[in-house]
Protein backbone atom coordinates (compact mmCIF):
# COMPACT_ATOMS: atom_id res chain seq x y z
CA UNK A 1 0.00 0.00 0.00
CA UNK A 2 1.38 3.35 -0.94
CA UNK A 3 0.53 6.77 0.29
CA UNK A 4 -0.67 7.70 -3.17
CA UNK A 5 -3.27 4.93 -3.14
CA UNK A 6 -4.75 6.29 0.09
CA UNK A 7 -5.12 9.84 -1.06
CA UNK A 8 -7.27 11.33 -3.73
CA UNK A 9 -5.63 12.06 -7.03
CA UNK A 10 -4.41 15.62 -7.33
CA UNK A 11 -6.85 18.02 -8.91
CA UNK A 12 -6.35 21.68 -9.74
CA UNK A 13 -9.25 22.63 -7.48
CA UNK A 14 -11.90 20.91 -5.43
CA UNK A 15 -15.52 20.64 -6.46
CA UNK A 16 -17.40 23.89 -6.15
CA UNK A 17 -14.18 25.87 -5.76
CA UNK A 18 -14.13 25.80 -1.93
CA UNK A 19 -12.06 23.12 -0.23
CA UNK A 20 -13.72 20.50 1.90
CA UNK A 21 -12.92 22.11 5.23
CA UNK A 22 -14.33 25.44 4.13
CA UNK A 23 -17.55 23.77 3.06
CA UNK A 24 -17.76 21.88 6.31
CA UNK A 25 -17.32 25.12 8.22
CA UNK A 26 -20.11 26.75 6.24
CA UNK A 27 -22.44 23.78 6.56
CA UNK A 28 -21.97 23.68 10.32
CA UNK A 29 -22.61 27.37 10.68
CA UNK A 30 -25.63 27.19 8.38
CA UNK A 31 -27.11 24.44 10.53
CA UNK A 32 -26.47 26.51 13.63
CA UNK A 33 -28.02 29.55 11.99
CA UNK A 34 -31.13 27.60 11.05
CA UNK A 35 -31.40 26.30 14.62
CA UNK A 36 -31.41 29.79 16.09
CA UNK A 37 -33.37 31.84 13.55
CA UNK A 38 -32.07 35.34 13.04
CA UNK A 39 -29.04 34.90 15.29
CA UNK A 40 -25.76 35.89 13.69
CA UNK A 41 -23.25 33.04 13.62
CA UNK A 42 -19.62 33.95 13.10
CA UNK A 43 -17.87 31.83 10.50
CA UNK A 44 -14.49 31.55 8.88
CA UNK A 45 -15.13 33.42 5.67
CA UNK A 46 -12.81 32.33 2.86
CA UNK A 47 -11.29 34.13 -0.05
CA UNK A 48 -13.22 33.75 -3.27
CA UNK A 49 -12.13 35.24 -6.58
CA UNK A 50 -14.20 38.34 -6.04
CA UNK A 51 -13.73 41.47 -3.93
CA UNK A 52 -15.21 41.56 -0.45
CA UNK A 53 -18.45 43.46 -0.55
CA UNK A 54 -19.51 42.07 -3.93
CA UNK A 55 -21.37 39.11 -2.54
CA UNK A 56 -18.59 36.89 -1.23
CA UNK A 57 -20.74 35.76 1.70
CA UNK A 58 -23.60 34.71 -0.52
CA UNK A 59 -21.22 33.11 -3.00
CA UNK A 60 -19.63 30.93 -0.32
CA UNK A 61 -23.03 29.70 0.80
CA UNK A 62 -24.03 28.98 -2.79
CA UNK A 63 -20.78 27.14 -3.46
CA UNK A 64 -21.40 25.00 -0.39
CA UNK A 65 -25.02 24.18 -1.24
CA UNK A 66 -24.44 23.54 -4.94
CA UNK A 67 -24.28 20.14 -6.64
CA UNK A 68 -24.33 19.18 -10.32
CA UNK A 69 -28.14 18.95 -10.33
CA UNK A 70 -28.81 22.30 -8.62
CA UNK A 71 -30.40 24.80 -10.91
CA UNK A 72 -28.97 28.21 -10.09
CA UNK A 73 -30.44 31.68 -10.46
CA UNK A 74 -28.56 34.84 -9.50
CA UNK A 75 -30.25 38.18 -8.99
CA UNK A 76 -28.71 41.61 -8.64
CA UNK A 77 -31.20 44.31 -7.60
CA UNK A 78 -33.92 42.23 -9.22
CA UNK A 79 -32.08 41.85 -12.50
CA UNK A 80 -30.56 38.63 -13.81
CA UNK A 81 -28.57 40.33 -16.54
CA UNK A 82 -26.40 42.79 -14.65
CA UNK A 83 -22.65 42.20 -14.87
CA UNK A 84 -22.41 41.14 -11.24
CA UNK A 85 -25.27 38.64 -11.46
CA UNK A 86 -24.07 37.24 -14.78
CA UNK A 87 -20.51 36.83 -13.52
CA UNK A 88 -21.53 35.06 -10.34
CA UNK A 89 -23.91 32.81 -12.25
CA UNK A 90 -21.23 31.88 -14.77
CA UNK A 91 -18.70 31.26 -12.02
CA UNK A 92 -21.09 29.02 -10.07
CA UNK A 93 -21.86 27.03 -13.17
CA UNK A 94 -18.22 26.71 -14.21
CA UNK A 95 -16.91 25.39 -10.87
CA UNK A 96 -19.81 23.03 -10.24
CA UNK A 97 -21.27 22.03 -13.59
CA UNK A 98 -24.68 23.08 -12.32
CA UNK A 99 -27.33 24.21 -14.80
CA UNK A 100 -28.36 27.85 -14.67
CA UNK A 101 -31.69 29.51 -15.20
CA UNK A 102 -33.27 32.92 -15.12
CA UNK A 103 -36.70 31.59 -14.22
CA UNK A 104 -37.55 31.72 -10.51
CA UNK A 105 -39.86 28.71 -10.83
CA UNK A 106 -37.12 26.47 -12.25
CA UNK A 107 -34.40 27.50 -9.81
CA UNK A 108 -33.39 25.37 -6.84
CA UNK A 109 -30.88 27.82 -5.47
CA UNK A 110 -31.35 31.55 -5.78
CA UNK A 111 -28.57 33.89 -4.79
CA UNK A 112 -29.79 37.43 -4.58
CA UNK A 113 -28.63 40.92 -3.86
CA UNK A 114 -31.22 43.40 -2.59
CA UNK A 115 -34.39 41.69 -3.85
CA UNK A 116 -36.62 38.69 -3.30
CA UNK A 117 -38.30 37.49 -6.53
CA UNK A 118 -41.94 38.41 -7.05
CA UNK A 119 -43.04 34.79 -7.52
CA UNK A 120 -43.69 32.81 -4.35
CA UNK A 121 -40.83 30.48 -3.50
CA UNK A 122 -41.48 26.82 -2.72
CA UNK A 123 -40.35 24.52 0.08
CA UNK A 124 -37.63 22.97 -2.09
CA UNK A 125 -36.02 26.27 -2.96
CA UNK A 126 -33.27 28.03 -1.06
CA UNK A 127 -32.78 31.77 -1.15
CA UNK A 128 -29.30 33.09 -0.39
CA UNK A 129 -29.09 36.80 0.34
CA UNK A 130 -25.88 38.80 0.25
CA UNK A 131 -25.51 41.01 3.31
CA UNK A 132 -23.18 44.00 3.48
CA UNK A 133 -23.78 44.84 7.14
CA UNK A 134 -25.29 42.09 9.26
CA UNK A 135 -25.54 44.04 12.52
CA UNK A 136 -28.88 45.82 12.93
CA UNK A 137 -27.69 47.45 16.14
CA UNK A 138 -24.68 49.13 14.55
CA UNK A 139 -26.48 52.40 14.00
CA UNK A 140 -27.52 52.64 17.64
CA UNK A 141 -24.60 50.91 19.33
CA UNK A 142 -21.24 51.34 17.65
CA UNK A 143 -19.52 49.05 20.13
CA UNK A 144 -19.95 45.54 18.72
CA UNK A 145 -19.15 43.80 22.01
CA UNK A 146 -22.00 45.63 23.70
CA UNK A 147 -24.21 45.03 20.66
CA UNK A 148 -23.71 41.27 21.06
CA UNK A 149 -24.64 41.57 24.72
CA UNK A 150 -27.76 43.45 23.69
CA UNK A 151 -28.66 40.60 21.33
CA UNK A 152 -28.11 38.18 24.19
CA UNK A 153 -30.40 40.18 26.48
CA UNK A 154 -32.93 40.86 23.69
CA UNK A 155 -32.36 44.50 24.60
CA UNK A 156 -33.77 46.04 21.43
CA UNK A 157 -35.33 49.23 22.82
CA UNK A 158 -32.89 51.37 20.91
CA UNK A 159 -34.02 49.99 17.57
CA UNK A 160 -37.31 51.75 18.15
CA UNK A 161 -35.36 54.86 19.05
CA UNK A 162 -34.07 54.85 15.50
CA UNK A 163 -37.65 54.71 14.18
CA UNK A 164 -38.69 57.40 16.66
CA UNK A 165 -35.96 59.68 15.35
CA UNK A 166 -37.05 59.14 11.76
CA UNK A 167 -40.69 59.91 12.54
CA UNK A 168 -39.72 63.01 14.49
CA UNK A 169 -37.42 64.31 11.75
CA UNK A 170 -39.42 63.36 8.68
CA UNK A 171 -42.92 62.56 9.81
CA UNK A 172 -42.66 58.93 8.78
CA UNK A 173 -40.33 55.96 8.99
CA UNK A 174 -37.60 56.62 6.46
CA UNK A 175 -35.83 53.28 6.67
CA UNK A 176 -36.06 52.20 3.05
CA UNK A 177 -33.94 49.10 2.94
CA UNK A 178 -32.55 46.68 5.57
CA UNK A 179 -35.67 47.24 7.63
CA UNK A 180 -34.91 45.71 11.05
CA UNK A 181 -37.12 42.72 11.70
CA UNK A 182 -37.78 40.44 14.63
CA UNK A 183 -37.25 36.80 13.72
CA UNK A 184 -39.18 34.14 15.58
CA UNK A 185 -39.97 36.67 18.31
CA UNK A 186 -36.42 36.63 19.57
CA UNK A 187 -33.61 38.03 17.42
CA UNK A 188 -33.67 41.27 15.50
CA UNK A 189 -31.95 40.90 12.16
CA UNK A 190 -31.33 43.08 9.18
CA UNK A 191 -32.93 41.31 6.23
CA UNK A 192 -30.08 42.58 3.97
CA UNK A 193 -30.86 45.72 1.96
CA UNK A 194 -34.09 44.42 0.46
CA UNK A 195 -36.78 47.10 0.13
CA UNK A 196 -39.61 47.29 2.67
CA UNK A 197 -41.73 45.74 -0.07
CA UNK A 198 -39.88 42.44 0.29
CA UNK A 199 -39.75 42.08 4.07
CA UNK A 200 -43.30 40.67 4.46
CA UNK A 201 -42.37 37.96 1.93
CA UNK A 202 -40.08 36.44 4.53
CA UNK A 203 -42.82 36.09 7.11
CA UNK A 204 -43.92 32.45 7.33
CA UNK A 205 -42.31 31.80 3.96
CA UNK A 206 -42.16 28.25 2.65
CA UNK A 207 -38.53 28.50 1.57
CA UNK A 208 -35.31 28.60 3.54
CA UNK A 209 -33.47 31.93 3.50
CA UNK A 210 -29.80 32.10 4.33
CA UNK A 211 -28.19 35.48 4.78
CA UNK A 212 -24.45 35.67 4.65
CA UNK A 213 -21.98 38.52 5.05
CA UNK A 214 -18.56 37.57 3.74
CA UNK A 215 -16.64 40.62 4.84
CA UNK A 216 -18.24 40.72 8.29
CA UNK A 217 -18.05 36.92 8.56
CA UNK A 218 -21.59 36.37 9.84
CA UNK A 219 -24.28 33.93 8.74
CA UNK A 220 -27.91 33.98 9.81
CA UNK A 221 -31.01 32.31 8.52
CA UNK A 222 -34.77 32.40 8.35
CA UNK A 223 -36.00 28.81 8.31
CA UNK A 224 -39.23 27.90 6.51
CA UNK A 225 -42.46 28.88 8.25
CA UNK A 226 -40.74 31.26 10.63
CA UNK A 227 -42.16 34.53 11.87
CA UNK A 228 -40.43 37.66 10.55
CA UNK A 229 -41.99 40.82 11.90
CA UNK A 230 -40.71 44.26 10.96
CA UNK A 231 -40.25 46.47 14.02
CA UNK A 232 -43.05 49.01 14.31
CA UNK A 233 -44.71 51.21 16.89
CA UNK A 234 -48.08 49.95 18.05
CA UNK A 235 -49.74 53.06 16.66
CA UNK A 236 -47.66 53.52 13.48
CA UNK A 237 -48.31 50.64 11.09
CA UNK A 238 -45.72 49.15 8.76
CA UNK A 239 -45.90 50.48 5.23
CA UNK A 240 -44.38 49.10 2.08
CA UNK A 241 -43.37 51.39 -0.77
CA UNK A 242 -46.25 52.99 -2.69
CA UNK A 243 -45.74 50.88 -5.77
CA UNK A 244 -49.15 49.23 -5.76
CA UNK A 245 -50.55 51.63 -8.34
CA UNK A 246 -47.55 51.66 -10.67
CA UNK A 247 -47.63 49.96 -14.05
CA UNK A 248 -44.61 48.53 -15.80
CA UNK A 249 -44.07 50.49 -19.01
CA UNK A 250 -42.64 47.47 -20.83
CA UNK A 251 -44.80 44.55 -19.73
CA UNK A 252 -47.91 46.30 -18.50
CA UNK A 253 -47.76 44.39 -15.23
CA UNK A 254 -49.21 46.25 -12.30
CA UNK A 255 -48.75 46.21 -8.54
CA UNK A 256 -45.18 45.04 -8.16
CA UNK A 257 -41.96 46.63 -7.02
CA UNK A 258 -40.78 48.95 -9.79
CA UNK A 259 -37.60 50.64 -10.91
CA UNK A 260 -38.00 54.26 -11.78
CA UNK A 261 -36.65 55.16 -15.22
CA UNK A 262 -36.26 58.93 -15.69
CA UNK A 263 -37.41 60.18 -19.06
CA UNK A 264 -36.10 62.98 -21.23
CA UNK A 265 -39.14 65.15 -20.59
CA UNK A 266 -38.62 65.09 -16.82
CA UNK A 267 -41.31 62.53 -16.06
CA UNK A 268 -40.50 58.99 -15.14
CA UNK A 269 -41.52 55.63 -16.44
CA UNK A 270 -41.48 52.47 -14.36
CA UNK A 271 -40.39 48.96 -15.10
CA UNK A 272 -40.54 45.78 -13.09
CA UNK A 273 -37.59 45.44 -10.77
CA UNK A 274 -37.80 41.63 -11.05
CA UNK A 275 -36.54 41.60 -14.64
CA UNK A 276 -37.27 37.95 -15.42
CA UNK A 277 -40.85 38.27 -14.21
CA UNK A 278 -41.15 41.21 -16.57
CA UNK A 279 -39.71 39.23 -19.47
CA UNK A 280 -42.09 36.36 -18.76
CA UNK A 281 -45.05 38.74 -18.61
CA UNK A 282 -44.12 40.19 -21.99
CA UNK A 283 -43.72 36.76 -23.52
CA UNK A 284 -47.05 35.62 -22.19
CA UNK A 285 -48.70 38.75 -23.57
CA UNK A 286 -47.21 37.85 -26.93
CA UNK A 287 -48.79 34.40 -26.71
CA UNK A 288 -45.81 32.27 -25.66
CA UNK A 289 -46.68 29.39 -23.35
CA UNK A 290 -44.78 30.53 -20.22
CA UNK A 291 -45.44 29.61 -16.64
CA UNK A 292 -46.14 32.59 -14.45
CA UNK A 293 -46.08 31.50 -10.83
CA UNK A 294 -48.26 32.84 -8.07
CA UNK A 295 -46.90 36.09 -6.73
CA UNK A 296 -46.63 37.34 -3.14
CA UNK A 297 -48.50 40.49 -4.15
CA UNK A 298 -51.56 40.63 -6.37
CA UNK A 299 -52.65 44.09 -7.53
CA UNK A 300 -50.28 45.56 -5.00
CA UNK A 301 -51.83 43.74 -2.04
CA UNK A 302 -50.03 41.05 -0.11
CA UNK A 303 -51.84 37.79 -0.81
CA UNK A 304 -50.90 35.81 2.27
Amino acid sequence: MTLASLTKPWAPMSYGFLDASAKRELRRKMVKAVCVPGCQMPYASREVPMARGWGTGGLQVSLTLINPQTCVKVIDQGADDSVNAASIRRFLSRVSGAPVTLDTLQADLIQSRHRIPEEILREDQVLVLQVPNPEPLRSVQPNMSIARQMHGDADYGRMWLQLYEQIVRSGRVMQGASYPSMVNGRHVMTPSPIPRWDVPKLHMAKHLTILSAGREKRIFAVPPYCRVEPLVFDDVPYRVEDHAGLTCSRSGAKGFFMNEVPQDDGTSAFELSDSEYGVKSIRRAEGDPVDLGDTWYTNGELTK
Binding site: G157, L161, V168, F233
Partner: protein, 265 residues
Protein backbone atom coordinates in the same frame (compact mmCIF):
# COMPACT_ATOMS: atom_id res chain seq x y z
CA UNK B 1 -54.92 79.20 76.72
CA UNK B 2 -53.27 75.88 76.91
CA UNK B 3 -50.71 74.80 74.46
CA UNK B 4 -51.15 71.24 73.26
CA UNK B 5 -48.25 69.42 71.83
CA UNK B 6 -48.30 66.28 69.79
CA UNK B 7 -47.00 63.29 71.58
CA UNK B 8 -43.42 62.64 70.55
CA UNK B 9 -43.27 60.24 67.65
CA UNK B 10 -40.58 57.80 66.86
CA UNK B 11 -39.52 57.76 63.28
CA UNK B 12 -40.16 54.27 62.03
CA UNK B 13 -39.56 54.79 58.32
CA UNK B 14 -37.31 52.16 56.79
CA UNK B 15 -34.45 53.45 54.72
CA UNK B 16 -34.99 53.27 50.96
CA UNK B 17 -31.39 52.56 50.20
CA UNK B 18 -28.87 50.75 52.31
CA UNK B 19 -25.23 50.12 51.53
CA UNK B 20 -23.39 47.90 53.90
CA UNK B 21 -19.67 47.37 54.33
CA UNK B 22 -18.74 48.22 50.76
CA UNK B 23 -15.10 47.72 49.80
CA UNK B 24 -13.55 48.34 46.44
CA UNK B 25 -10.00 48.60 45.26
CA UNK B 26 -8.51 49.04 41.83
CA UNK B 27 -5.27 47.11 42.10
CA UNK B 28 -3.25 48.80 44.86
CA UNK B 29 -5.58 51.83 44.98
CA UNK B 30 -8.30 51.55 47.60
CA UNK B 31 -11.35 53.40 46.30
CA UNK B 32 -13.81 52.53 49.06
CA UNK B 33 -13.11 51.15 52.50
CA UNK B 34 -15.97 49.73 54.54
CA UNK B 35 -18.56 52.30 53.49
CA UNK B 36 -22.03 52.30 55.03
CA UNK B 37 -24.77 54.54 53.73
CA UNK B 38 -28.50 54.86 54.22
CA UNK B 39 -30.96 57.07 52.40
CA UNK B 40 -34.54 57.51 53.58
CA UNK B 41 -37.48 57.96 51.24
CA UNK B 42 -37.94 61.54 50.07
CA UNK B 43 -34.60 62.58 51.44
CA UNK B 44 -31.63 64.19 49.70
CA UNK B 45 -28.27 62.80 50.67
CA UNK B 46 -25.23 64.84 49.73
CA UNK B 47 -21.84 63.26 49.38
CA UNK B 48 -18.89 65.63 49.52
CA UNK B 49 -15.19 65.01 49.30
CA UNK B 50 -12.19 65.94 47.27
CA UNK B 51 -11.31 64.39 43.93
CA UNK B 52 -10.35 60.76 44.32
CA UNK B 53 -12.17 60.33 47.62
CA UNK B 54 -14.33 57.58 46.15
CA UNK B 55 -17.59 59.48 45.96
CA UNK B 56 -18.15 58.89 42.27
CA UNK B 57 -17.27 55.23 42.64
CA UNK B 58 -19.90 55.00 45.35
CA UNK B 59 -22.47 56.61 43.08
CA UNK B 60 -21.62 54.29 40.22
CA UNK B 61 -22.19 51.39 42.59
CA UNK B 62 -25.57 52.77 43.55
CA UNK B 63 -26.35 52.78 39.82
CA UNK B 64 -25.10 49.18 39.65
CA UNK B 65 -22.51 50.10 37.07
CA UNK B 66 -19.78 48.58 39.17
CA UNK B 67 -19.61 45.73 41.61
CA UNK B 68 -17.62 46.02 44.83
CA UNK B 69 -15.11 43.55 46.19
CA UNK B 70 -17.43 42.99 49.13
CA UNK B 71 -20.54 44.53 50.62
CA UNK B 72 -24.25 44.57 50.13
CA UNK B 73 -26.78 46.94 48.59
CA UNK B 74 -30.50 46.82 49.19
CA UNK B 75 -33.36 48.96 47.96
CA UNK B 76 -36.60 48.89 49.88
CA UNK B 77 -38.99 48.68 46.95
CA UNK B 78 -41.81 46.30 46.13
CA UNK B 79 -40.55 43.32 44.11
CA UNK B 80 -36.92 44.26 44.69
CA UNK B 81 -35.13 42.26 47.31
CA UNK B 82 -31.84 40.75 48.24
CA UNK B 83 -28.36 42.04 47.64
CA UNK B 84 -28.54 43.98 44.39
CA UNK B 85 -24.86 43.43 43.70
CA UNK B 86 -25.66 39.79 43.12
CA UNK B 87 -28.23 40.42 40.40
CA UNK B 88 -27.45 39.17 36.91
CA UNK B 89 -26.85 41.60 34.09
CA UNK B 90 -30.39 41.37 32.79
CA UNK B 91 -32.13 42.04 36.11
CA UNK B 92 -29.65 44.79 36.87
CA UNK B 93 -30.40 46.53 33.58
CA UNK B 94 -34.15 46.40 34.14
CA UNK B 95 -33.78 47.72 37.67
CA UNK B 96 -31.52 50.57 36.56
CA UNK B 97 -33.80 51.46 33.71
CA UNK B 98 -37.02 51.54 35.68
CA UNK B 99 -36.12 52.44 39.26
CA UNK B 100 -32.94 54.47 39.20
CA UNK B 101 -32.27 57.69 37.31
CA UNK B 102 -28.82 59.16 36.94
CA UNK B 103 -27.40 62.49 35.81
CA UNK B 104 -23.73 62.42 34.97
CA UNK B 105 -21.30 65.28 35.17
CA UNK B 106 -20.36 64.68 31.56
CA UNK B 107 -23.49 64.68 29.36
CA UNK B 108 -21.65 62.56 26.79
CA UNK B 109 -21.88 59.64 29.21
CA UNK B 110 -25.60 59.84 29.67
CA UNK B 111 -26.88 61.06 26.32
CA UNK B 112 -26.86 59.99 22.70
CA UNK B 113 -25.46 63.21 21.33
CA UNK B 114 -26.70 62.92 17.78
CA UNK B 115 -30.21 61.74 18.49
CA UNK B 116 -32.91 64.26 19.30
CA UNK B 117 -33.40 65.42 22.88
CA UNK B 118 -36.89 63.98 23.06
CA UNK B 119 -35.49 60.77 21.59
CA UNK B 120 -32.99 60.60 24.40
CA UNK B 121 -35.80 60.78 26.93
CA UNK B 122 -37.90 58.35 24.90
CA UNK B 123 -35.07 55.84 24.95
CA UNK B 124 -35.63 55.35 28.67
CA UNK B 125 -39.29 54.56 28.03
CA UNK B 126 -38.41 52.27 25.14
CA UNK B 127 -36.03 50.26 27.28
CA UNK B 128 -38.85 49.86 29.77
CA UNK B 129 -41.03 48.45 26.99
CA UNK B 130 -43.21 51.32 25.76
CA UNK B 131 -44.01 50.81 22.08
CA UNK B 132 -46.61 53.47 21.27
CA UNK B 133 -45.26 56.49 19.45
CA UNK B 134 -47.88 58.94 20.68
CA UNK B 135 -47.35 57.94 24.31
CA UNK B 136 -43.57 58.16 23.95
CA UNK B 137 -43.86 61.62 22.49
CA UNK B 138 -46.18 62.82 25.19
CA UNK B 139 -44.24 61.40 28.10
CA UNK B 140 -40.93 62.69 26.73
CA UNK B 141 -42.42 66.15 26.36
CA UNK B 142 -43.80 66.01 29.89
CA UNK B 143 -40.47 64.99 31.38
CA UNK B 144 -38.63 67.69 29.45
CA UNK B 145 -41.18 70.25 30.58
CA UNK B 146 -40.75 69.12 34.19
CA UNK B 147 -37.02 69.68 33.94
CA UNK B 148 -37.73 73.14 32.49
CA UNK B 149 -36.29 72.45 29.10
CA UNK B 150 -37.45 74.90 26.39
CA UNK B 151 -39.94 72.85 24.44
CA UNK B 152 -39.32 74.57 21.12
CA UNK B 153 -35.97 72.78 21.06
CA UNK B 154 -37.58 69.42 21.75
CA UNK B 155 -36.05 67.70 18.75
CA UNK B 156 -32.66 69.38 18.68
CA UNK B 157 -29.82 66.95 19.27
CA UNK B 158 -27.97 67.53 22.58
CA UNK B 159 -24.75 68.25 20.74
CA UNK B 160 -26.27 71.51 19.55
CA UNK B 161 -27.39 72.51 23.05
CA UNK B 162 -25.61 74.42 25.79
CA UNK B 163 -24.18 72.64 28.83
CA UNK B 164 -27.08 73.64 31.05
CA UNK B 165 -29.59 72.39 28.50
CA UNK B 166 -27.75 69.12 28.17
CA UNK B 167 -28.01 68.63 31.92
CA UNK B 168 -31.73 69.31 31.71
CA UNK B 169 -32.08 66.65 29.03
CA UNK B 170 -30.21 64.23 31.25
CA UNK B 171 -32.47 65.15 34.12
CA UNK B 172 -35.60 64.67 32.01
CA UNK B 173 -34.29 61.29 30.93
CA UNK B 174 -33.60 60.34 34.54
CA UNK B 175 -37.06 61.31 35.81
CA UNK B 176 -39.04 60.10 32.77
CA UNK B 177 -40.00 56.84 34.46
CA UNK B 178 -40.53 58.42 37.88
CA UNK B 179 -37.66 56.54 39.47
CA UNK B 180 -37.53 55.73 43.15
CA UNK B 181 -33.99 56.98 43.33
CA UNK B 182 -32.30 59.82 41.49
CA UNK B 183 -28.51 59.93 41.43
CA UNK B 184 -26.72 63.14 40.55
CA UNK B 185 -23.01 63.06 39.86
CA UNK B 186 -21.67 66.61 39.97
CA UNK B 187 -24.68 67.83 38.00
CA UNK B 188 -23.60 71.47 37.91
CA UNK B 189 -19.85 71.21 37.58
CA UNK B 190 -18.67 72.85 34.40
CA UNK B 191 -21.65 75.20 34.19
CA UNK B 192 -21.28 78.91 34.83
CA UNK B 193 -22.67 80.26 38.07
CA UNK B 194 -25.95 81.66 36.79
CA UNK B 195 -26.79 78.50 34.86
CA UNK B 196 -25.75 76.47 37.88
CA UNK B 197 -28.27 78.38 39.96
CA UNK B 198 -31.03 77.70 37.42
CA UNK B 199 -30.29 73.98 37.31
CA UNK B 200 -30.21 73.83 41.11
CA UNK B 201 -33.53 75.66 41.17
CA UNK B 202 -35.03 73.03 38.90
CA UNK B 203 -33.66 70.23 41.03
CA UNK B 204 -35.01 71.83 44.18
CA UNK B 205 -38.44 72.30 42.64
CA UNK B 206 -38.52 68.74 41.37
CA UNK B 207 -37.59 67.49 44.78
CA UNK B 208 -40.38 69.46 46.39
CA UNK B 209 -43.00 68.53 43.82
CA UNK B 210 -42.27 64.89 43.46
CA UNK B 211 -40.57 63.97 46.72
CA UNK B 212 -37.91 62.07 44.82
CA UNK B 213 -35.20 60.47 46.88
CA UNK B 214 -31.90 61.87 45.67
CA UNK B 215 -28.25 61.20 46.17
CA UNK B 216 -26.10 64.08 45.04
CA UNK B 217 -22.35 63.92 44.73
CA UNK B 218 -20.40 67.13 44.54
CA UNK B 219 -17.19 68.75 45.60
CA UNK B 220 -19.04 72.05 45.71
CA UNK B 221 -20.34 72.65 49.22
CA UNK B 222 -22.69 75.35 47.93
CA UNK B 223 -24.57 72.82 45.84
CA UNK B 224 -24.79 70.38 48.71
CA UNK B 225 -25.93 73.09 51.09
CA UNK B 226 -28.74 74.15 48.75
CA UNK B 227 -30.11 70.69 48.19
CA UNK B 228 -29.09 68.16 50.77
CA UNK B 229 -30.89 67.19 53.98
CA UNK B 230 -28.08 64.99 55.14
CA UNK B 231 -24.42 65.04 54.26
CA UNK B 232 -21.72 62.40 54.11
CA UNK B 233 -18.11 63.56 53.98
CA UNK B 234 -15.69 61.19 52.28
CA UNK B 235 -11.94 61.13 52.21
CA UNK B 236 -9.62 58.51 50.76
CA UNK B 237 -12.42 56.01 50.36
CA UNK B 238 -13.77 56.35 53.86
CA UNK B 239 -16.73 58.18 55.34
CA UNK B 240 -15.16 60.55 57.86
CA UNK B 241 -18.33 62.25 58.99
CA UNK B 242 -22.05 62.03 58.39
CA UNK B 243 -24.98 63.98 59.74
CA UNK B 244 -27.64 66.59 59.05
CA UNK B 245 -26.55 69.22 56.59
CA UNK B 246 -26.83 72.13 59.02
CA UNK B 247 -24.98 70.19 61.66
CA UNK B 248 -22.09 69.43 59.33
CA UNK B 249 -21.83 72.95 58.03
CA UNK B 250 -22.27 74.74 61.35
CA UNK B 251 -20.42 72.40 63.63
CA UNK B 252 -18.00 70.19 61.76
CA UNK B 253 -16.32 67.68 64.03
CA UNK B 254 -13.71 65.98 61.94
CA UNK B 255 -10.56 67.92 61.12
CA UNK B 256 -10.96 67.34 57.41
CA UNK B 257 -14.56 68.53 57.43
CA UNK B 258 -13.56 71.63 59.34
CA UNK B 259 -10.93 72.34 56.75
CA UNK B 260 -13.42 71.80 53.95
CA UNK B 261 -16.07 74.05 55.45
CA UNK B 262 -13.56 76.78 56.21
CA UNK B 263 -12.08 76.58 52.76
CA UNK B 264 -15.52 77.29 51.41
CA UNK B 265 -16.38 80.15 53.71
Amino acid sequence: MTLTLDAPRIVTVDPLLELHGVNKSYGPVVALRNVHATVFPGEVLGIVGESGSGKSTLLRMMNLEETPDSGSYTLDLPDVDGNLFELDRFARRMLCATRIGIVYQNPHLGLLMKHSSSGNVAERLLVAGERRFAVLREKATDALAASEFPLERLDAPPIELSGGMQQRVQLAKAIALEPALLLLDEPTTGLDVSVQALVLDTLKRLQQDRKITMVIVSHDLGVIRTLADRVMVMRRGEVVEAGLADQIFQDPQHAYTQQLVHAKL
